[in-house]
């Protein structure tokens, strides 16, 4: 289940400074959009507007054709670079929280048999994200990678149609980051969510996303740098289905000629890593550098 997102003429100011202007975007359901750009280019601001933490000063953002509510809601999950999990709750308690909030409107806390039931219900999640051994620890005692795995799992418990990631792996070691990429791609395929991920790492964007959005300013005023805001300056579809089709055709040709050497060459040049070999919908709307 996923949602399409439409952004129409959005502008956001902070005081005198224009952060985002003339932002137009059409994102198909199930897309994985990576958002890159220099520091202060408004990519995190865009994410905050998507989650409902901030409202655009002009224009509108629609999800499945409906204006987004002006506050965060369970339909849009979010994972931040830091402070994404609750430090005063153990790993298990963090995962139990959504169900508890649903079950007990007043206290947000359940006791007795229903509490045990909720605890049992998160056991599989704990195992699937490799935190079973650490289930009774507090976030302070977890590594950065473990914290982010917990944060993502917690966000997905609500089955959001849109998942927003604000530099989720920015603070992690490169090795851990690779593991997290695999986990994220698996979850994305399983859930068919629409994902927006802000990242500093363009390679990460290319590796994960089906669409790369570059935020930058198109107009500059040298005397007053904050006079103009950013918008999407490049909108690159990362067309994996097409690339995969070409690779498959080449492979078939090689198999036909039974040339082991050629097979090795083609295998070596296989662009998508094995983890991405499963079919994915191709939600890319096309589009080249966006005219502004």
């Amino acid at each position: 289940m996923s949602s399409g997102v439409t952004v129409r003429g959005v502008r956001k100011d902070y005081g005198d400074a224009v952060v985002i202007e003339r932002l137009n975007l059409e994102v198909a359901p199930g897309s994985f959009c990576a958002i890159v750009g220099a520091s202060g280019c408004g990519k995190s601001t865009f994410l905050r507007m998507l989650v409902g933490q901030e409202q655009p000063d002009q224009g509108e953002i629609l999800i499945d054709g409906e204006p987004i509510p002006p506050e965060p809601s369970p339909a849009r999950g979010i994972v931040f670079q830091r402070y994404s999990v609750f430090p005063h709750l153990t790993v298990t308690q963090n995962l139990m929280l959504p169900a508890e909030l649903r079950a007990s409107k007043f206290f947000g806390r359940v006791l007795g048999p229903s509490r045990r039931k909720i605890r049992d219900s998160v056991a599989d999640t704990l195992k699937s994200i490799g935190l079973w051994e650490a289930r009774d620890r507090c976030p302070l005692q977890l590594s950065g990678g473990m914290q982010q795995r917990l944060a993502i799992a917690q966000a997905l418990l609500m089955r959001p149609k849109i998942l927003l990631l604000d530099e989720p792996f920015g603070a992690l070691d490169p090795g851990i980051r690779g593991d997290m990429h695999a986990i994220l791609l698996r979850l994305w395929r399983e859930t068919r969510m629409t994902i927006f991920m802000v990242t500093h790492d363009i390679a990460e964007g290319f590796k994960l996303a089906t669409r790369l959005l570059v935020f930058d300013k198109v107009r500059h005023d040298p005397d007053f740098p904050s006079a103009y805001g950013s918008t999407v300056t490049y909108d690159l579809p990362l067309d994996r289905a097409q690339r995969r089709a070409e690779t498959a055709a080449a492979l078939a040709a090689v198999e036909a000629s039974r040339s082991a050497a050629a097979l090795a060459v083609v295998r070596a040049s296989l662009n998508p890593p094995p983890a991405r070999e499963e079919p994915v919908p191709d939600p890319v709307q096309g589009g080249n550098p966006q005219a502004v």
Binding site: E71, P72, R76, I78, L97, P98, K105, G108, Q154
Partner: protein, 273 residues
Amino acid sequence: MRLVNRKPSRGTAIALAAIPFVLVAIAYSVGSYVRLSDNPADKLLPALSTMAQSFYTMAFTPEQRTGDYLLWVDTAASLTRLAIGVGISALLALTVGIAVGFIPIVRAGLAPFVSALSLIPPLAVLPILFIVFGLGELAKVALIVIGIAPVMIRSMSQSVASLPAELIVKAQTLGASTWQMVTRVVLPQMLPQLVSTTRLALGPAWIFLISAEAIASTSGLGYRIFLVRRYLAMDVILPYVAWITLIAFAIDLALRLLAKRAFRWAYGEGQLL
């Protein structure tokens, strides 16, 4: 090696910490000895043995007229007032602090008022309290509350407001209502802060307690000190001051250990000062 890089070993640190205490004790003993050898009836710097004797009398000899053990009666009276006053203040700080810090509408309505309240010098209000509440317990407790609650509320609301916005957004994406965020996210995370704020407020709380007792009371540690002042009874005053200091230290230590044990998630391996 530069001075800033020289770190004392544990033994050295303890020795260094003891030096000021020892120096003061020596200075006092010498001064007391000099004055007492000059005039054995001198009351200003009583010998340590005299103070010990007086303290023992206060603690373990019933007073002739009432049969009370004065030290314990005074201690119980003062601690009761302190506990009620600080307890009410902590409760106010927690509830009002969270409301002001977390709910923008309440903040707009109450924050300036609380700030103004916290600027009133509490001792200047003491006569009003005596007039309104009489000379009983209520006025003394009220002085402590008026003295420390506004500052504690400000401190708590500040901490609430500085909770990472990410956590609040995240809670909402998990479906939490405002009230649920208060009970499950804000309140539990504010408890360590409440203990810290209370520890800091205990100093002023003692000031207001002793002041109120000094002015109008019939029992209490502050009352006793100001009572025996008339007789220049330094042999009672000094042990009482030391006793108060010891109690204050014990309360602070107890709160510190409580926070460290109860809020492991907040302190982890880190030091709690």
